[in-house]
């Protein structure tokens, strides 16, 4: 029964008797869709999957990558294959042992699945070398292969179970090597996980883990305050302030790897005009945007590459478009637009991007540009974005792999329209992009090339980078937990009660 446990969570602090708690309730704003690793397509599902399954490598909250199911690896000379040495003695939750078969099967299954395509684009095939060795062949040298292997979509599943229950049924019969097993999923309400006592790193400290779905932020914070929830992720700045004032609660934050930017459709009038784009970019006061969109909980972004991205210069050194509304007016004049003559449609979605849009509307008004802010549903937004129907849009880009390649490809003309929805096409940029991708052995040269690409971007202004929001957590002060910029960082195995 969960009823009894419900009661025990009513106290925020450890019970008076001094016994430490061994259960944990984490609030999630949206419900995971399904828990088959290779079919993951949303963050919260990944969050849960990374606690029930193990990837080959784990990314720590600090951003470092440490070995998980792979004890070690070896990259081939030409960079087109990576040999993975699998940890021995690891058991799936059904008691069978993990073998190279399972790893190869999982990687190949991910490669074959549309949902995981983004994380397996460079994978060709995984081949079993021996019982505990797998070789992953790549289609081309990919600097980001290790970060990719930390992702939920590349977690390892037991081959025999998938084959037994059938491809599509695994979601309902998950059986990973992870520290937790799913015991109950009340759709729309909560997921309850139980400690895997046989976990290869040892039994976790938290024995019962509950993810509770709390869509409304206010409700989640109230739940935290009343002690029915122990950890809430990504709360608003005002709520953060409230939490910090509460002696029973703790708060931590870090900059996230997400970048919010305005994308201009470079193939559609009037934003096919470089001058107009630049003018709009120069009129943006990013600090005001941060204040309005996330109540100040964000860091000004120079580009889509936050600090820590491999292959990119430190963010402070990245070239950026200056805030200069007067110059912007001049540019507009140059482009032939007097005050009030230009109208731009800006597509946003409900939430932070809509707020940012509302502020941009005001800022662009200051340089004589009228803005129509269209709030679209996700489906409509994506559709119009890919079809090139939008003029400008605000989106958030997650630096999944924290590697520059993935980020630079968003302006490469070969990825139009899906990855590159700005329809920006510049052969010079494309050439540089190809060049940086193969600089595996010369990181300095790579940084140089990428800086060059950033300069081109500043010149052509296909997008205006706004900010990296803060990634934060609010939690019961007796909980040991570290804030992480990525979902992979919230590995509950590392959490415990004081």
């Amino acid at each position: 029964g969960c009823g009894g446990q419900q009661d025990s969570t009513d106290d925020a602090a450890p019970s008076e008797t001094g016994e430490t708690r061994d259960d944990l309730v984490i609030a999630l704003a949206t419900e995971p869709t399904q828990l088959d690793p290779h079919y993951l397509s949303d963050t919260n599902s990944s969050l849960v999957v990374l606690n029930t399954h193990d990837p080959l490598f784990r990314r720590l909250p600090s951003g470092e990558i440490e070995p998980a199911l792979a004890e070690d690896y070896e990259l081939s000379e030409d960079g087109t294959s990576i040999t993975l040495y699998i940890r021995q003695g690891v058991k799936f939750q059904d008691g069978t042992e993990l073998t190279a078969e399972d790893v190869a099967f999982s990687l190949n299954r991910a490669t074959a699945t549309a949902q995981s395509e983004a994380y397996t684009e460079s994978f060709k095939e995984a081949v079993v070398v021996d019982d505990y060795t797998v070789r992953l062949d790549l289609l081309y040298p990919d600097v980001a292969v290790l970060p990719l292997l930390t992702q939920g979509n590349n977690c390892i599943v037991p081959k025999h179970v998938v084959e037994e229950v059938g491809e599509t049924e695994y979601a309902g019969n998950i059986c990973g090597t992870g520290p937790y097993k799913l015991v109950e999923w009340q759709k729309g309400a909560k997921l309850v996980l139980e400690a895997n006592e046989d976990y290869w790193q040892g039994a976790p400290a938290i024995k019962r883990l509950e993810y509770r779905i709390l869509a409304e932020t206010t409700t989640a914070i109230v739940a935290l305050e009343t002690g029915s929830v122990d950890l809430v992720m990504n709360i608003g700045a005002l709520d953060a302030q409230l939490v910090q004032e509460n002696p029973d609660l703790a708060y931590a934050e870090t900059t996230s790897t997400t970048t919010y930017y305005v994308g201009f459709n470079c193939a559609k009038a009037p934003l096919d005009n470089k001058l107009v784009r630049k003018a709009l970019a120069m009129a943006v006061d990013k600090d005001a945007v941060i204040l309005g969109a996330v109540d100040g909980a964000g860091v000004v972004a120079a580009n889509v590459m936050p600090d820590g991205t491999t292959g990119a210069p430190a963010e402070a050194d990245q070239p950026t478009i200056p805030y200069d509304p007067e110059a912007a007016v001049k540019l507009l004049e140059e482009a032939g637009y007097g005050p009030g003559e230009l109208t731009v449609h800006l597509a946003v979605r409900e939430g932070a991007t809509k707020k940012a849009g509302t502020i941009l509307q005001d800022q662009w008004k200051a340089i004589g540009v009228n803005t129509v802010v269209d709030t679209l549903e996700r489906s409509a937004m994506l559709n119009d974005m890919y079809n090139g129907n939008l003029e400008a849009y605000i989106v958030g880009d997650v630096a999944l792999t924290m590697d520059a390649s993935m980020q630079t490809s968003t302006l490469d003309s070969s990825t139009i329209p899906y990855t590159n929805s700005t329809f920006y096409s510049n052969p010079e940029y494309d050439a540089l992009n190809d060049e940086q991708a193969v600089q595996m052995n010369d990181p300095e040269r790579r940084v140089e090339i990428i800086t060059q690409m950033m300069e081109i971007e500043v010149e052509d202004a296909p997008r205006v980078h706004l900010y990296h929001p803060v990634s934060n957590i609010a939690y019961n002060k007796n909980l040991n937990v570290e804030v992480s910029p990525t979902v992979e960082g919230y590995f509950t195995y590392g959490m415990s009660w004081n």
Binding site: G188, K190, I213, S379
Partner: protein, 309 residues
């Protein structure tokens, strides 16, 4: 009577087909291909194409609709595109919550609205009547989420009397049920009041008084039975609409109901899920209305006579 029920049930078929058609076409008007929604922004083009093809999105609209209906007639309502689970699995998981909420809210609304409405009618123009009416209008004008959030802040946070969320304990249902019930109670109060006012002017009420019946007998035995008809219609409609899910309340109180599922499904263009949700709700709604009609017959012999003929 049985014949009537069967006839009504048979009539359900064209109505459900109509509902299916309306929703299917609206869902197809909504821009966006399901593949991008399922796969996420970063999925490559080929994957999208392939998935769209798999889902049959490249077929003409009519073909897809016909396929859907054909499968549905065979009991196959498909799998959710989002979760890849049979659509009814998730719906059935959420239905108990929705039913508790709807039944609780309707019960509370009736228990509050009807007696107060009667009191108002009996004491027309009294202070109590005016107070009732003003409070009722006030309640029916308060936006639902405002009421919800305020009650959470007051009862869950300030007073710590009730939980703010969850559908595990009975106490967790109190706030959402009250939030849902108040506007309904207000509407029922006003309806009961005006119906009762009309009925107590009828000749047969005077007949009862002339027999020497006390006010209590006049109101409860003679007037109320006759006033029940419009009241149960409205209560039935209200219950029906509650069964359809109350997106706002569900979201504010984090109640896993059918309403929020439907909204999520619409947002992610999860056509099979949306279809199943709406069809189920529509069917429930129609069944409730049938029940209301049968209740009519039970309460009013004139209507009973019409059915039994």
């Amino acid at each position: 009577m049985a014949k009537y029920v069967i006839k009504r049930l048979v009539l359900l078929i064209p109505v459900m087909l109509g509902v299916a058609f309306i929703i299917f076409s609206i869902m197809n008007f909504i821009p966006g291909d399901p593949a991008s929604l399922i796969l996420g922004e970063s999925a490559p083009a080929e994957a999208r194409e392939q998935l769209n093809e798999e889902l049959g999105m490249n077929d003409p609209f009519i073909v897809r609709f016909a396929d859907y209906i054909w499968d549905a007639l065979h009991g196959d309502f498909g799998e959710s595109w989002r979760t890849r689970e049979p659509v009814f699995e998730e719906i059935f998981a959420r239905i108990p919550t929705t039913i508790y909420l709807a039944a609780g809210a309707m019960l509370l609304a009736v228990l509050l609205g009807v007696p107060l409405g009667i009191l108002s009618a009996v004491k027309q123009y009294s202070f109590l009547d005016v107070l009732n009416s003003v409070v009722a209008m006030f309640l029916s004008a308060i936006p639902a989420f405002w009421l919800g959030l305020l009650s959470i802040l007051l009862f869950a946070l300030k007073l710590r009397l009730l939980p703010s969320d969850g559908a595990d304990t009975a106490s967790a249902f109190i706030l959402p049920i009250v939030t849902l019930a108040l506007p309904g109670a207000a509407e029922l109060l006003r309806l009961t009041r005006s119906t009762m006012l009309e009925i107590i002017r009828q000749d047969y009420i005077r007949t009862a008084r002339a027999k020497g019946a006390s006010e209590r007998i006049v109101i409860w035995r003679h007037a109320l039975r006759n006033a029940t008809l419009p009241i149960i219609t409205v209560a039935g409609m209200y219950f029906g609409s509650l069964l359809g899910g109350s997106v706002i309340t569900e979201s504010v109180f984090s109640m896993p109901g059918v309403g929020s599922l439907t909204i999520t499904a619409i947002r992610s263009k999860d056509i099979p899920q949306v279809m199943a949700c709406v069809l189920l709700m529509a069917a429930l709604f129609c069944l409730i209305m049938l029940l209301v009609d049968l209740l009519y017959a039970f309460l009013d012999p004139r209507i009973r006579a019409r059915y039994t003929k």
